[in-house]
């Protein structure tokens, strides 16, 4: 059987580029295709990233990719009470995402990866019932066939080829957040990520302000997909339109109400469970395409990069053994579920508990917990913070008890 490449990666975002970089460094011939005209554009993201994941891969982020350094987070309760939280968990960057994605992709190219932009995968190529490549269309032109023993979906939310390969990629409204965001200026910040909670502010979600360079900030909102157009929006509008909520927040914010918007962007992000399986014969799904996204904050870059490294080590092994069957690709899935998967499951549990809390509960919790409790909670150690809250508000045991099981 003749192949054009050892692997074809669909999608040149953080997971695809990272996966390809590792595979190429180990001697594999890898092709990345991306349907967009330019890698990294359009940005659909809050652009926040913790420092640990990049450092763990021995990468040094160039200055052009960093818009602002983050030293901590400010979490604001519905009542307006603020907790400033500084810890290793909360240091990071707000990226220039379009620069970041392109940089990661260029790193892959430096290792020998071939990249084609404005190229869409239209269907899977099958041979004897097995996936053996993809049909590609450049700029909407007549599709042509490219063959490889391994096809990797790093397609993000859309994940159409993963769907074609038989994965359950469709998202339910309950398990997505719909987001809208402006880049705004001027905004004088303190290098803190700011998160505003409250059912009147953002039903099942939050408003964020991510500081950027030159007195700019990403001001965005994410609300539960199942609240969209629900005809009972707290603002009285017909359905919960994220833009309406965001405008309301901005109008009531002392600094932002007079600021300009420089960019409109938005998106829909998975905040549910990851897919049940990530591999089939000759096919892998990585990153957001596999719904590997943090259910609490909807962040996907860090997980994508960690996942890509894991998946690449499996793919490299499969390449050496010339075996791309499901069982040969399974180590990635098994390892993911035992490590990142466990962490995600706890986060998902926390999300599902948080969405049951009303503003009064949230205010009570914010008045009770400390920075240490916040750290424990984000680490998945729920017992102490829950005990503290329940001691003062026993009726919350029914809701928070789920975290103790």
């Amino acid at each position: 059987m003749k192949y054009d490449h050892d692997a074809i990666v669909i999608g040149g975002g953080p997971s695809g580029s990272t996966f390809a970089r590792y595979c190429a460094a180990a001697g594999m011939d890898v092709l990345i295709i991306d349907k967009r005209k330019e890698i990294g554009i359009p940005v659909r993201c809050g652009e926040g990233l913790g420092t640990r994941e990049v450092l763990a891969q021995g990468l040094e982020l160039p200055k052009r990719c960093i818009s602002a350094e983050i030293t901590g987070a400010k979490v604001v309760a519905p009542s307006g009470k603020e907790i400033v939280w500084k810890d290793t968990q909360t240091t990071g960057w707000v990226l220039e995402r379009k620069m970041f994605d392109k940089w990661l992709c260029e790193l892959a190219v430096d290792k020998g990866v071939k990249v084609h932009t404005y190229t869409r995968a239209t269907e899977l190529v099958k041979e004897g019932g097995r996936i053996a490549g993809v049909k590609l269309s450049h700029g909407g032109k007549e599709p042509y066939e490219v063959r490889a023993p391994l096809v990797v979906s790093a397609e993000g939310m859309e994940s159409l080829m993963a769907r074609a390969a038989g994965f359950k990629t469709v998202h339910s409204l309950y398990d997505v957040d719909t987001c809208y965001q402006y880049e705004m200026k001027p905004y004088d910040h303190q290098n803190l990520i700011e998160l505003y909670f409250g059912n009147e502010i953002a039903p099942r979600g939050y408003v964020w302000i991510f500081p950027k360079s030159d007195r700019k900030a990403n001001v965005g909102i994410g609300i539960g997909g199942n609240y969209m157009n629900a005809k009972k929006g707290a603002s009285g509008v017909d359905g919960a339109d994220p833009k309406v909520y965001l405008e309301k927040f901005i109008a009531s914010h002392p600094q932002l109400k007079d600021s300009s918007t420089l960019i409109d962007f938005g998106g829909v992000i998975s905040v549910g469970a990851p897919m049940d399986e990530f591999v089939k014969d000759n096919f892998m799904v990585i990153g957001t395409a596999a719904k590997q996204v943090d259910p609490i904050h909807g962040g996907g870059i860090a997980i994508a990069m960690e996942t890509a490294a894991l998946a690449a080590s499996t793919a490299i092994g499969a390449h050496k053994g010339k075996d791309f069957s499901r069982s040969a690709l399974l180590p990635y899935e098994t390892e993911w579920k035992a490590t990142l998967g466990k962490k995600m499951a706890k986060r998902l549990m926390l999300r599902k508990v948080m969405e049951k809390l009303n503003d009064g509960d949230l205010d009570y919790i914010f008045n009770t917990i400390t920075q240490k409790d916040l750290n424990d909670t984000m680490d998945g150690k729920f017992a102490a913070p829950v005990a503290k809250v329940v001691a003062g508000r026993p009726q919350l045991l029914k809701v928070l008890g789920a975290l103790l099981s």
Partner: protein, 79 residues
């Protein structure tokens, strides 16, 4: 079927990610809808952060959908 006001679309592909029928996908630089696959569930319209998708339940004809949305129907459209 649905109609999309492309001018306001921010190309986030959220609609495509929730469509159970593969009836909408990103092609080139805009979203493309396949009315023949559409099952009128309206999930795309609900999830759209830019609020540019309108569901026209039971309408099968693109011209009619446009008319339904308030645009003038093209000549020859079935009323």
């Amino acid at each position: 079927m649905i109609t999309i006001e492309h001018a306001g679309c921010i190309f986030c592909v959220g609609c495509s990610s929730v469509c159970p029928a593969n009836a909408i996908e990103a092609v080139g630089t805009r979203m493309k809808h396949y009315p023949e696959k559409c099952i009128d569930c309206g999930l795309c319209a609900k999830v759209c952060p830019a609020n540019v998708i309108t569901l026209h339940k039971g309408v099968k004809d693109p011209c009619q959908a446009k008319a339904h949305q308030g645009h003038a129907a093209p000549k020859g459209a079935v009323k």
